[in-house]
């Protein structure tokens, strides 16, 4: 494959982003720049979540670990989960949604460019907000699932027997509300973009698979996030205003929280994994030189997964004692999800079968995603069986399962996407030698860290324990896991080195380094602000291959053109202002108990938000 890259190495091109400077980034509404902002921010949060994981692993290396206190440990796993899900994997997916949905459907931007900037700023500030909790010594510690009534403990009135809890859970509740606003705004934006802004000729069933899976994800986000929003409002009221939605001592029901949480929480799992499925479905055909096998089956299996994903939430609750009929329904529904997932796996193998496989780092990451997801999927079938889950739930077996799905699946898929699309985003190819070192260490480290968790879980090690005693024989595999975690961390250090090396190197990426199939490869790397000087005409799901074939196998490098006459939205800093308003308004809720006039702060935030939105609405276009 290296040769094909060299053949097409293009001469250095003039800078494709003519606007520079901090202000241009703060006010940008360009989906590509917002994508890069999402990616850079999410990667930093991802490293933070990884750091938390390393401390967790160090604590558990041997029996009776004393590195951190039990309360710190609870905060670490709570924030590890919260960070990785809401601040790592979701925004990393959002980076690819932002950058590549418009490019792949042949659009000049998303449907609502300023709303897009708003989503990013709300996400950034929300992520900072929830992490400030560490600095004020009140990090969330109720688990990423925040089960009531541990989290709903009444704040007012407090007595000596039940002292007022700290702000830990309030940071979590408000932080998630802020992040939810970012997610819902972004989901609406991409939904409308995909429905309305496709290039002429791109019917729904000609969309690239990444766009299709992203489309399903936006629908899941729009349907799942309102549920958690409502649940979090109830929880906040239980904590601060004396309601009893989830408090049994006031007549409420803590199981209702679990139902609400998992009606959001299970689709959330597919929100995390489907983008990676889409990315793998882009990469495998390109490096096999064959179209995606079973395109229609892939589309409908993705839709089916999303749909049934709303009917399986209670498989997280088999131990709550729902009775035999509910257990049966949710067991069978969960098993049914294995079918469309299997269809995807088999079609990926069908895609590479009979192909001519080029082992680039992107391809290897995508293949590993398939291979590792199989393991996570099969362990998932094992605990779809409700009685078996009575042993497995809340043990390390589950931790192993979802790390195979979310690390083996989502992170490998997203990393594959990074190697695949890096040249398009930055005009530079990541180093393949370092990429392969990254891949092998990541693959080795991933399995060393997470595979032994299967063994420990089945042999009786529960989750969320800050230490374990001697005598249960958990030491050996825990030690291996810790070593694996550091190998994993080291592999990402190599990735960082690769990024820095590439960043300092020359622009060496042609428009289409991989012989890609989709529209983003038809334009220069990186694309000009307006993406397409002329909207492309699409006649199949592999338009760039069609063009290459029509040109006799070789396409000339697309020329940079003047964007004169192409209307692009003007930059605006009101999205950032509005995002600050959202954070002020919601963030003020932290002070319900601290300040006598907290609602003054709320009103100030609301006024700020109102002014920002007003200025945004009446901003003149120029």
């Amino acid at each position: 494959m290296a040769t094909s890259v060299l053949e097409h190495r293009a001469p250095a091109m003039p800078h494709a982003h003519p606007k520079t400077g901090l202000w241009s980034w703060i006010t940008t509404v360009d989906h590509k720049r917002i994508g890069i902002l999402y990616g850079a921010t999410a990667f930093l949060f991802f490293l933070l979540g990884g750091l938390e994981a390393l401390i967790i692993r160090l604590q558990l290396t041997g029996p009776n670990g004393k590195l951190v206190d039990p309360d710190t440990y609870n905060a670490l796993f709570t924030m590890h989960g919260t960070t990785m899900i809401f601040l790592g994997v979701m925004p990393l997916s959002a980076m690819f949604f932002n950058y590549f949905i418009p490019l792949q459907i042949g659009a000049r931007d998303v449907a609502f460019p300023r709303l897009n900037a708003f989503s990013y700023w709300v996400f950034l500030l929300g992520g900072i907000f929830i992490n400030i909790s560490f600095l004020v010594g009140a990090p969330p510690d109720g688990g990423w699932f925040g089960y009531a009534n541990l989290t709903s403990s009444r704040v007012i009135p407090s007595t000596a027997a039940a002292p007022a809890p700290g702000l830990n859970i309030d940071f979590w509740v408000i932080g998630l509300q802020i992040l939810g606003i970012a997610s819902i705004a972004a989901a609406l934006n991409f939904f409308v973009t995909i429905v309305n802004l496709r290039a002429p000729g791109m019917k729904m069933l000609r969309m690239p698979m990444f766009v299709w899976m992203s489309f399903v994800v936006q629908v899941l986000l729009l349907l799942a996030f309102p549920v958690i929003t409502v649940a979090l409002i109830y929880l906040m009221m239980d904590r601060n205003f004396g309601t009893s939605f989830f408090m049994p001592d006031g007549g409420g029901d803590p199981i209702m929280w679990q139902h609400l949480f998992w009606i959001f929480g299970h689709p959330e799992v597919y929100i995390l994994i489907l983008p990676a499925f889409g990315i793998a479905s882009e990469i495998l055909p390109v490096f096999s030189r064959k179209p995606l096998f079973g395109y229609t089956a892939m589309v409908f299996s993705g839709i089916f997964i999303g749909f049934v994903g709303f009917g399986v939430w209670s498989h997280h609750m088999f131990a709550t004692g729902m009775g035999p009929f509910a257990d049966t329904f949710f067991s069978l529904a969960t098993m049914v999800i294995a079918l469309p997932t299997g269809v995807k796996i088999f079609n990926w193998i069908g895609t590479i079968w009979g192909g001519s496989l080029r082992y680039t780092t992107a391809m290897m990451m995508a293949i590993a995603m398939v291979a590792l997801f199989v393991i996570g999927g099969l362990s998932g079938v094992m605990h779809s069986s409700a009685p078996a889950d009575l042993q497995q739930t809340d043990t390390y077996f589950i931790v192993a399962h979802f790390h195979y799905v979310l690390f083996g699946g989502a992170i490998f898929g997203l990393t594959a996407g990074a190697y695949y699309w890096w040249p398009k985003m930055f005009g530079r190819l990541l180093d393949e030698k370092l990429g392969k070192a990254h891949f092998w260490l990541m693959f080795l480290g991933m399995n060393a860290t997470f595979f032994p968790m299967h063994i420990l879980g089945l042999n009786g090690m529960p989750r969320r324990v800050y230490s374990y005693p001697e005598g249960l024989n958990f030491e050996f595999w825990n030690l291996i896991e810790t070593v694996g975690a550091f190998v994993l961390a080291f592999s990402f250090l190599i990735f960082l080195v690769n990024i820095i090396k590439t960043w300092m190197g020359p622009r060496n990426a042609p428009a289409d380094p991989w012989h890609g199939a989709t529209l983003e490869w038809a334009i220069p790397s990186p694309p000009q602000e307006f993406n397409f000087p002329k909207l492309p005409q699409v006649g199949s799901s592999v338009p760039q291959w069609d063009a290459r074939r029509a040109a006799g196998g070789h396409l000339p490098e697309p020329a940079l053109v003047s964007g004169e006459g192409i209307h692009m939205p003007n930059p605006s800093f009101w999205p950032l202002m509005a995002a600050i308003g959202v954070n002020l308004t919601l963030g003020s809720l932290l002070f319900i108990r601290q300040l006598p006039y907290w609602y003054g702060l709320t009103l100030f935030g609301a006024a700020w938000l109102f002014v920002s939105v007003y200025k945004w609405a009446f901003e003149p276009a120029h």
Partner: protein, 365 residues
């Protein structure tokens, strides 16, 4: 052609296979004392059998799928001057086959699953021993309403008799998990003043005498990690002896009053009288029921009933061995022994008091 590299490669493969086998055996060995793979009761054997069926099918699928993937990766690797591969777009027959075969496998798993669900999720059909399990932050209370026993952290049951559990919590959610005997089920808080009364059942018939460990499996606060428990399975005779011993001074028997003969023997014993004085003066009595004290019959105190604490093998919810050193250290610095525990001393105890209390607590077996 030189075949040496190939042989070396095979030798490494053989070594890897041996290593893999050793690790596999180690993984399912007998050395795990809290293992779901070592079931010791009817219900856990049932679940284990179901798991093994599922596991077998999962392994078959795993081997076939990964083998097909690895074969394709090797067989279809790009070679120089490869022509463009056949541009196939899919195959409906294949799609149907690879949907139908997994569906059949799922049916094979689903049928025993549903059968087992209807056995495991219902209350015990006819329990011979009934135990009420009450989760507290961060310890377990076990009450035997028919036998008149209240104890903590160590459940004692007879072998080969069906034990029916009724479980709830006194504060937040917990999950009772005894991997070898009873699997797990969550417990939900019940407060006397409200209508919310979710009592979860679980049952098991232990098939061998032994001492089994378990622990809380639902995040319940700072000490969730060390909210352990033990289940001791005794022969029928040993169990009857244990019952007779535990009934003395139990809140469920004669309002906590011990038999007169026992009471007068205690009153003649300075270990008892001095210890009891320290128990009252040190404030222990505020949270713990204890034989011979005015609150011997209390059932709603914050801490575990200590009437027979000397007979328990561990303290701090299966965290420390119950010996004089650990007990003394626990009384000296409970927060140092178990950070965040609700055991907060009203005032520091003197070393004399600690010595008196240790002797007193160990005397009451």
């Amino acid at each position: 052609m030189d075949t040496r590299p190939r042989r070396a490669w095979r030798a490494w493969l053989a070594r890897a296979a041996v290593l893999g086998l050793v690790l596999f055996v180690a993984a399912c060995g007998e050395n795990y004392h809290q293992s779901t793979l070592q079931p010791k009761s009817d219900i856990t054997r049932m679940i284990d059998g179901l798991f093994r069926t599922t596991f077998l099918w999962a392994m078959i699928v795993f081997v076939l799928v990964e083998a097909a993937l690895i074969y394709a990766l090797w067989r279809f690797r790009a070679k120089p001057n490869d022509p463009e591969p056949v541009q196939s777009h899919g195959n409906t027959t294949l799609e149907i086959i690879w949907t139908a075969i997994p569906a059949l496998i799922l049916v094979v798993i689903a049928v025993p699953t549903v059968k087992t669900i209807f056995k495991t999720s219902l209350p015990a059909p006819n329990p011979e021993v009934e135990v009420e399990v009450i989760g507290h932050q961060w310890w377990w209370e076990f009450r035997y309403p028919k036998l008149g026993i209240v104890t903590a952290n160590e459940m004692v049951v007879p072998v080969s008799k069906m034990v029916g559990l009724r479980m709830w919590s006194a504060d937040v959610l917990h999950s009772f998990w005894s991997p070898q005997l009873a699997a797990k089920r969550d417990v939900f808080p019940i407060f006397p003043q409200t209508k919310y009364k979710k009592v979860n059942p679980l049952w098991f018939t232990a098939d061998s005498v032994g001492d089994y460990s378990g622990q809380c499996a639902e995040l319940c606060g700072i000490q969730h990690g060390r909210m352990g428990l033990r289940v001791q399975v005794l022969s029928d005779a040993d169990f009857q002896a244990w019952v007779a011993q535990q009934r003395v001074g139990s809140p469920l028997v004669d309002g906590g009053k011990p038999p007169a003969a026992v009471d007068s023997a205690w009153k003649a014993d300075t270990v008892h009288t001095k210890g009891q004085a320290a128990f009252v003066a040190g404030g222990c009595i505020g949270c713990h029921a204890m034989v011979g004290t005015p609150l011997a019959s209390a059932l709603t105190l914050r801490g575990p009933n200590l009437s027979h604490v000397g007979s328990r093998t561990t303290i701090g919810a299966n965290m420390y061995e119950n010996n004089p050193t650990n007990l003394a250290q626990w009384l000296r610095d409970p927060q140092g022994m178990k950070k965040g525990s609700h055991m907060i001393l009203p005032r520091p105890l003197t070393e004399t008091e600690i010595a008196q209390l240790v002797a007193y607590l160990r005397m009451h077996k």
